[in-house]
Symmetry: C2
Subunit: 346 residues, 2 copies
DNA sequence: CCCAACTGAGAAAACCTTTTCCCAACCCTT
DNA sequence: AAGGGTTGGGAAAAGGTTTTCTCAGTTGGG
């Protein structure tokens, strides 16, 4: 006869430490100590308890442990760009660093909604997260949430930290340098720069480094072309750079990969060969774009995953009570060379 | 004089129910009941306790509540595609549905690593998640983790469910129909289909629906061209379709947006006008691609966010003990019309 | 005036684990 | 044989909340 209970899935009740203790014929205290390698008892007793626990499939209830230890091995990841391409590798890095330490991550997407943000933060605090990592879609903007004076440590990654806090961002000047210096080494002499809107801090940072490298190498200064982060702007910029009668660039350093793609497509449409006549380097190393351009795009990678990892580890040591000097730490970029920038001259 | 304590941030201790009770001059029991609207007491007492709690900034400790209620208001989101473009809107939907119900989400990226997957699942179970949502990058593959016979309910979204489980996927046949029927309505007569590898179930599903619609409309059958999910394959396919001396298609339905972009670019390079001479429709509605094609790409959207939302709500009702019929539920797609498919004939 | 019913609130158990303190038994020394 | 140290293990508190049970006092009806 089949019982009614079978019609709905019935979920097994977890086995508790008490049950292990009873089954092994000891007290819960002893059982706890046996499993945690604490206290004193005969090796035989300890082993018997462990075996019993194994047999019963005992797993300690983290909730109870956390309640007692005042440490939940849980952190919150707050972002207003959960589904953008910057946050993703960054979140992967954070997650990696934490998971290796037995810490789980609450993902909270707050969009640009202050109310939603506060809601999430309070929910996380109620759930006794050990700390919070804040990430965003822009290095030069604050999240729409006030994270100062929380009762847990906060680390910022790829977003503007509050005063006195710890933050990690990419070193955009370094990234731009990497690209422009690479062009110099390849013997390019007229290097242009096409980037996004001037309202982005990174646009100015990168443009500054671009100018500096040109000067250091005694190359002609070309005023950076600032526009949008789009392919369309890449097309437009090529029209400006290559449409006139003036001397043409032999290299274009682009503010992101989409602009770079637009530039490459526009150059091809004008019959200008990449990389033979003009080299192109992008920024972000967004693989799906960089590998689809013809030829595949050399691009600056911001190492967002390691940035996330660093942030995760920093938070962990903060949680452990290690003080950390406040301030923004810049992490270096990396140039991923593909085929759009040409080979060194023989 | 500045105390040493100021050098390191010291985090305020949360206030407990006991403190509220003492402060209001009642027992913890009464305080609890006052705040939860339970029990019986004078309106005056209740109000006084509430006011005290508000003043003290009392927030109940979720850990303690969860321990008692055997319900943590926490679920795990398991994915092997955390950082791919399918999971993202899906996760947003899941998250939305759950957050509205006060449930937090543990994000777990298991890649294709069975060991890592089991580790994550056990960690979540230890943390007493109320349920688990499994999502992946392919509708026709299982996650590398065994989620059958867990002690919590599991719902699958955009990944193959285990036997007897509840799963949600997009209705790819519906999506393909939407696209091909749209072409038919626009008066296109020779509709080609360029898609990904035959090893993907969706490729066959969509190709099947494509053939069916052609037949229903008495249009000539053209054997689908199966290749890769890339722009390059789109170029190649155009060479095959438009390179010979045979009759040329006047519409191409593509298996994803990248192929579609390749097709559109290749057509332009051949001087074939889109949408005047050939209409193109993509699949996935990956906005960043769809909006960068020239002209912007009409594409089938799988409504992944609502798929995620449905999955979240289904899990919630499962957690509440409402039984759900096992099986795969297919959710309809939606055609997002841009400019690559042309207007209806006058 | 007595009993029943109701009212407002508290005591205590429960959830599960960890840790401190304590105790009984044993061994050794003098 | 008495005193002290050691050994193996248990009792109980703690962590913060919810819920059931209990109870003293008050009100109402007969």
């Amino acid at each position: 006869m089949v019982s009614d209970a079978e019609s709905a899935p019935v979920f097994a009740k977890p086995v508790t430490l008490r049950e292990v203790a009873v089954s092994a014929g000891v007290s819960v205290a002893t059982a706890s100590k046996a499993l945690n390698g604490q206290g004193r008892m005969t090796a035989e007793t300890r082993e018997r308890i462990r075996e019993t626990a194994r047999l019963l499939g005992f797993r300690p209830n983290s909730l109870a442990q956390s309640l007692l230890r005042r440490r939940s091995f849980t952190v919150g990841l707050l972002t207003n760009d959960t589904y953008g391409r910057f946050s993703l590798p960054l979140m992967a890095g954070v997650s990696d660093a934490l998971v290796d330490n037995g810490v789980s991550v609450f993902l909270c997407n707050v969009e640009d909604d202050t109310r939603l943000g506060q809601l999430h933060v309070e929910a996380m605090l109620d759930k006794r997260v050990d700390g919070i990592i804040a990430t965003g879609k822009r290095i030069d903007r604050h999240l729409p949430v006030d994270l100062a004076n929380l009762r847990v440590p906060v680390v910022y990654a790829f977003t503007q930290p509050d005063a006195g806090a710890v933050g990690f961002v990419s070193d955009d000047a370094d990234g731009a340098r990497l690209a422009v210096e690479h062009f110099c080494r390849l013997g390019r002499r007229r290097i242009a720069h096409v980037s996004g809107p001037a309202s982005f801090a990174v646009v100015n940072t990168r443009a500054g480094a671009y100018r500096a490298v040109l000067q250091e190498n005694n190359l002609p200064a070309i005023e950076p072309l600032l526009g949008a982060w789009s392919e369309a702007w890449g097309h437009e910029a090529v029209a400006k750079l290559f449409g006139g009668r003036g001397e043409r660039p032999d290299a274009v350093f682009c503010g992101n990969d989409q602009i770079a793609r637009g530039v490459i497509d526009a150059l091809r449409e004008r019959g200008i060969r990449v990389p033979d006549e003009v080299g192109v380097i992008g920024f972000d190393n967004w693989e799906i774009v960089a590998e689809a351009t013809r030829p595949p795009l050399t691009s600056v990678d911001m190492n967002l995953a390691s940035l996330g990892r660093e942030a995760g580890l920093a938070l962990l040591s903060l949680v452990d009570g290690q003080p950390a000097a406040p301030g923004i730490r810049k992490l270096p970029c990396r140039l991923v060379v593909r085929q759009s920038c040409g080979s060194p001259p023989e």
